[in-house]
């Protein structure tokens, strides 16, 4: 059980795919203009990550070392196609909003990175859990970034949530601030880079603050000089 705890810590904070490994930045920055989009892409990535980790872990005994990367990519591509077709069928509005970034999940480095670094070396239970927790870590950052950008750039939260969750979700829409002239930059790609930079800086600041609190002040030892110069 201890390993699962460690995996959780790694995926959510210490080795967070978006904040620390800085993987999958392309979808991270491109689709996080609203919380809904961020959540949609986060779920899609989470599903693909779990599926691919599970499969890669199950077949790891029979995949020759030399051709493992193409095999992983095919496995990932299969799951992405599954997710893409399901989204096309069930959440068509969101499918259109996310556009090219759904098929592009294939190229998301988080997925191939976890397959190569973890799933291909560990039993399926752990691999599945690793995929889950890494996906959750990625989704959380996506949602946080989406929330910040949506509030600054649009003044709302969960705008268009009905695309993802069905008609009842129109009630989720929160008008946080009423802007006459919203800060468009936050919605545009540069806003994503700037906001992401601030989030990473905040994470590092928290880490530093914790490290300083944990570290006990070392008592300086004064040594008597025994040799003369």
């Amino acid at each position: 059980m201890n390993e699962y705890k460690e995996l959780t810590r790694q995926g959510l904070w210490k080795n967070n795919p978006a904040l620390v490994q800085l993987l999958g930045l392309c979808p991270l920055l491109a689709v996080t203009a609203t919380v809904t989009n961020a959540l949609g892409l986060g779920f899609a990535t989470l599903l693909v990550l779990m599926g691919s980790n599970l499969t890669v872990s199950l077949v790891r005994q029979w995949v020759p070392k030399e051709i493992r990367i193409p095999v992983f990519v095919m496995v990932i591509a299969t799951f992405v196609t599954l997710v893409q077709l399901s989204m096309n069928a069930y959440v068509y509005g969101l499918y259109q909003a996310l556009g090219i970034f759904i098929p592009l999940i294939v190229t998301n480095c988080v997925i191939i990175g976890r397959a190569e670094a973890y799933a291909s070396k560990n039993p399926w239970q752990k691999a599945l859990f690793d995929g889950f927790i890494m996906g959750v870590g990625f989704t959380l950052v996506l949602v946080l970034l989406g929330g910040i950008r949506e509030i600054i750039g649009n003044g709302t939260l969960f705008d268009g949530a009905e695309l993802l969750l069905g008609d009842w979700a129109t009630a989720l829409r929160v008008e946080v601030v009423q802007f006459d002239f919203p800060l468009l930059l936050a919605i545009l790609p540069p806003g994503a880079f700037i906001a992401m930079g601030f989030i990473i800086a905040l994470k590092n600041a928290i880490d530093q603050y914790r490290a300083e609190r944990v570290a006990k002040p070392v008592k300086a030892v004064t040594r008597a000089r025994v040799t003369s110069q």
């Binding site: 919203p182 800060l183 468009l184 930059l185």
Partner: protein
Amino acid sequence: MSFKIAASPHAHQRRTTQQVMRWVYVALIPGLLVQSYFFGFGVWLQITLALFTAWLAEAACMALRGRSVSHAWQDHTAIVTAVLLAISIPSLAPWWIIVIGTAFSIIVVKHVYGGVGQNLFNPAMAGYVLLLISFPVQMTSWPVPQQLALYSITLQDTAQLIFTGFTGAGYSLEQLRMGIDGVTMATPLDSLRTDLSQALTVSEATSKAIFASALGGVGWAWLNMAFLLGGLVLVKVRVISWHIPGGMLLGLLLPALLMSWFYPDQSVGPLLHALSGATMLGAFFIATDPVTAATSNRGRLYFGLLIGLLVFIIRTWGGYPDAVAFAVLLANMVVPVIDKYTQPIAYGHGGKL
């Protein structure tokens, strides 16, 4: 007897950052006077707001970084950033425009990169681009030159307009931007752009009232000449070298001259390019920022040429009427490359014999 050899630099220019910056805003005075003559007192109010915001932002950043607050303020770089940004934006823009822009310039563009001397991008222009992209309507609503305006604006009206959006008599900025013919008036470059895209010839486009008296549009030509005067003073007292403004004007005017030779009906002459928009302010005050420009004289010349060329390209084919801010930011990105290839060779260290 011993010869003490001091480390380089051997030639000193006894001028602190503070003194350099002080020269910059002394040289801005003629431009400011002309601007307030043609476009009203708004610019002074914008400068006040910008200075106040810059002071707050600078103090907050320095306190967060654990540095001396008063020391940072004394080098006057934040003042120059604030003043340049306040001059660049339309002088009757709402108060929050300049506040957001200045805060972004100081906090994100300057202090996130490490403060004075560390920033990659020109703070004033990065703030300007943030505003232009985020609030296109407010950032393109230049007031009409007073001489052509339907309504004249008093100091009180200006203040009310900036803080509430309406004058005492209830006019909005949109109404105040009407010319004597009752049509909302665009800046010379803006109006030219629209007309040329509608297949009018240059002579037709420049027959409007805004081009009536002077070479580069009413007010704008005088404004540019005033900034040119201030800039020449800066060159004369050696606060800036001639390379960047010279390069920029050459890079802008040479293609403009060629184009107006070959396509006289579809392109604007060099004179209009030189004396409209932000050309002179950009060439002498903005592009010459010592932190973000190239370092060697040859590099500065290339840097200026690049800015001028980019301004010409964006003005002629781009989506925006003026381009100094974009051109300066793009050239800022190229500065490390320029510096690498124009590094002067020290005497005795290789090079051609």
